[in-house]
């Protein structure tokens, strides 16, 4: 069964460092998303991406964050200068039909900022 894959599974970084989280969405999907979940809390929307551009972003997704689909298969989330409060599980998700279908989530990348 096709699945969304994410790397790394766990990243530990120092505050102020740049981090890139990588995702390979399901191959025929057109809509891509990043969500994050602080330990024990709800899943929070960060950004949606369609047709090579951001279609929607939340207030969490400030100038420190960026997304890219560099080569038609990978979908990356970059955090330019990490803060302690960026520590969370970051989930990538993809869907084939916006708004009207299920999202397929990857297993997540746990980011720990020290």
């Amino acid at each position: 069964e096709p699945e969304v894959t994410q790397t790394p599974s766990h990243q530990v970084t120092q505050m102020g460092q740049e981090v890139i989280l990588r995702c390979v969405p399901i191959s025929n999907h057109l809509y891509f998303y990043w969500y994050r979940q602080i330990l024990g809390q709800k899943v929070e929307f960060l950004v949606s991406f369609y047709n090579n551009e951001i279609s929607e972003k939340s207030e969490i997704f400030d100038d420190q964050f960026s997304v890219e689909r560099p080569d038609g298969s990978n979908f990356t989330l970059k955090i330019r200068s990490t803060k302690l409060e960026d520590s969370a599980m970051y989930f990538c998700a993809s869907g084939d039909v916006s708004n009207t279908g299920e999202l397929f989530f990857g297993e997540g990348s746990r980011l720990t900022v020290l």
């Binding site: 709800k42 899943v43 009207t100 999202l103 990857g106 297993e107």
Partner: protein, 111 residues
């Protein structure tokens, strides 16, 4: 911004008992989805409800969308240990692509 609240936050039940989680939105929704997240896992899609008053069943799970499309519920009959996890509703508003997750209900089963 949109608020999607779920109650209860936690539920501990004896195996075999029923379980219900309720989801309430501050705004009328286009549709609503339900996801299950096992401990240490990722959200997994369960179902989507689109129509006002819609009721869908999956084996022991019954999902309902309110008439006003502002609330939803998930009911599990005769819980089993495999039902353990956090159940999230996820709401979609008209005109945007953002799936807003509810606060979740964490279900634990006492064998």
């Amino acid at each position: 911004g949109q608020q999607v609240m779920q109650i209860p936050q936690y539920q501990h039940v004896q195996e075999g008992e029923d379980f219900t989680t309720y989801c309430n939105s501050s705004t009328t929704l286009s549709n609503i989805q339900w996801y299950k997240q096992r401990p240490g896992g990722h959200p997994v899609f369960l179902i989507q409800l689109v129509k006002s008053g819609e009721v869908k069943k999956q084996k022991r799970l019954t999902f309902q969308f309110g008439e006003a499309k502002k609330n939803s519920s998930l009911h599990i009959t005769a819980t089993q240990t495999t039902d353990v996890g956090t159940y999230f509703c996820a709401a979609i508003n008209f005109g945007n692509e953002k799936l807003t997750f509810g606060t979740g209900t964490r279900l634990t089963i006492i064998p």
